[in-house]
Symmetry: C2
Subunit: 371 residues, 2 copies
């Protein structure tokens, strides 16, 4: 591209793609690489950085990266690449502060895998670095971007009413290899274990259901399961709000795949049983029972719950990438400010997770949630 | 029928109906009256006893009782009626010990509305009276008798595996009249409030899911809601088993109608969202996700959950009456012993409910479950 060419008026052509660098070749990065390809032309997969160039090359070959994608043999080299606008960072959680702050300091927008940090103060360092550089921050919680999520959100006030009780379950049955070797069971890599992994989604879903009003306190459920290294493998908690709302969640690496979110309000009940990863990529089902009464003599329900299916052409992770690109393009090309909503809900999720962890560590005491 | 006629051999004719007396004209008695009519010829609705004959007459007229049904103006008169084999007893819980023991002492079989008693020692008095008289005892937990329940029970071992986590929710949104006047909010009538009413079903469902293995301890959830008289209106608890299984339930008079039972095992997940009263009288849906895995790149589930619908010609409460009649006929006509399964599961339900109540009363301490 010649820099001498006259710049066209912004409205005459689509915005230039956001050029992503993937930082680390984790398994989840394969899904995001595909999402970036699907999110073209908003996104371009420009580079991959790994601890060795050979690993980066293997990743590029395995995941259909464009021939022009640059392969970096270190994370530093990726961050030094001037043709990278934004990084997707799926490194182990213990490395997030170091590399997310480094990325922000180099002016790269940050799409950060969850859990975003080991604790809120670490996250605050990341968010401060992003703010200082004026780059967009977003955590990679894909289901937030499914159109089903927006549809459910739209129905909640009228059809469910004042939320009273929420339950969320996220479990999957990890195999022996995972339980021995995955980063999510290693104290030096992902010290939050299942709480940071599966629990993150439950906490986010609960906060989502109450429009991100923080609970006043949390109490972890006794008898969490830990592995020999002391990392959480199964755990749960109850959350309490000032107005009497309450939520319960349970997350586990030891039970069958389950992704439940149930929201019970004064006027209705929302059920979704695949909220994190829909059963099928292009549609998301849920049901709402609203103003349910018993039939005469309690022989049935009137009305019965209504079933909904929300379809999507692009998978939720590609929609996430597109939304991230839209924000980055606004900043990069039009002088917009970073969207504060995304770091704000990340921080609330992290703060609640911290409180749950503290309650576990304190013998299941009640722990106040401090924003 | 002339007593001088030669008695036909038992196999030549169907067993004589079990002649029911309904003891008290509670609203739920209307549903049971219909069930007894539907359960003919196994059941016959022979008599109604109320505190006044006028109330009994009104009940008989409103509920299509046979013209031959006898109307008694007191509970004593009903129990003195020699043409009554069995009583259905929907009186307020505080009256259960007195009248269920009196019924048993008169040789009447006892179908007792839930909660069966205010505490296990009261229940023990009832069960002892039934045992002493050799009469059948059964609590009136209708969903136990839906063929869906048997079908789910059959699938659990192979399709769900080793149960790890159970969640049950039962709420309905009571109107102002209920919250002011229903017996279930009155300390002198149903002192267990929502725990005895809705909570009973949650506890029974949880025990059912684990084949009635008692938990070792329970911890009530903090911040239950009580009315001005101190009766529970919304509450919950977590239950813990020696092998690491856990269950959570929440019950409420303040939230939309919800009847969830979710059982997550090592191999599968059972979802039923209308377990107490099916959406439709003649069919019961549920779903089972068994050995669920992620699709490649975690873009879906393989296999997806399977949906089941179990149909029934008779509503579950009529099937309950029929089963009760079968047992009574065996005792009355063939010298069988009372079936011990039903009082045994009643007692387990009551014992867990007592522990939850004790935990609430002790400030949400862990309370051991003592059988």
């Amino acid at each position: 591209m010649s820099s001498a060419a006259p710049a066209p008026a912004p409205e005459e052509q689509p915005p230039r793609p956001v050029r992503f660098g993937i930082m680390g070749c984790a398994s989840i990065a394969r899904k995001l690489a595909r999402a970036m390809l699907l999110a073209a032309p908003a996104a371009a997969l420009a580079a991959v950085g790994s601890r060795s160039e050979a690993k980066a090359r293997l990743f590029a070959a395995d995941n259909g990266l464009p021939a022009a994608a640059r392969l970096h043999g270190s994370y530093e080299a990726l961050l030094d690449d001037p043709a990278v606008d934004a990084v997707y960072l799926p490194l182990p959680t213990s490395l997030h502060v170091q590399w997310a702050t480094a990325a922000a300091a180099r002016g790269k927008h940050v799409l950060l895998e969850k859990p975003t940090a080991l604790c809120a103060s670490d996250l605050d360092a990341i968010l401060a670095a992003c703010e200082a550089s004026g780059v967009q921050f977003m955590d990679s919680t894909m289901w937030m971007h499914h159109p089903r999520t927006a549809k459910m959100r739209e129905l909640l006030p009228a059809d469910v009413g004042d939320v009273r009780v929420i339950n969320s379950l996220f479990s999957f049955r990890a195999n022996e290899d995972f339980l021995q070797n995955d980063i999510r069971v290693k104290p030096d890599l992902d010290a939050l274990g299942v709480l940071g992994d599966a629990g993150w989604y439950c906490i986010r879903a609960i906060l989502w259901a109450v429009d991100y009003e923080l609970p006043k306190n949390v109490i972890a459920l006794p008898e969490p399961v830990k592995n020999q290294a002391g990392v959480l493998i199964a755990c749960g908690a109850t959350l309490y709000w000032a107005d009497g709302k309450m939520a319960t969640f349970h997350c586990s690496f030891l039970a069958n795949l389950t992704m439940d979110l149930t929201v019970v309000g004064t006027d209705g009940t929302l059920h979704v049983t695949d909220f994190i990863i829909p059963y099928e990529e292009k549609s998301g089902p849920f049901s709402v029972a609203s103003r349910s009464n018993f039939a005469e003599l309690h022989t049935g329900w009137v009305p019965q719950p209504s079933k909904h299916v929300v379809t999507t052409d692009l998978p939720q992770e590609a929609l996430m990438v597109k939304e991230f690109c839209r924000l980055v393009q606004g900043i990069r090309d039009a002088g917009a400010k970073p969207e504060g909503k995304w770091p704000a809900i990340t921080r609330k999720t992290q703060v609640v997770m911290d409180a749950v962890k503290a309650s576990i560590d304190k013998g299941f005491e009640s722990v106040d949630v401090v924003s």
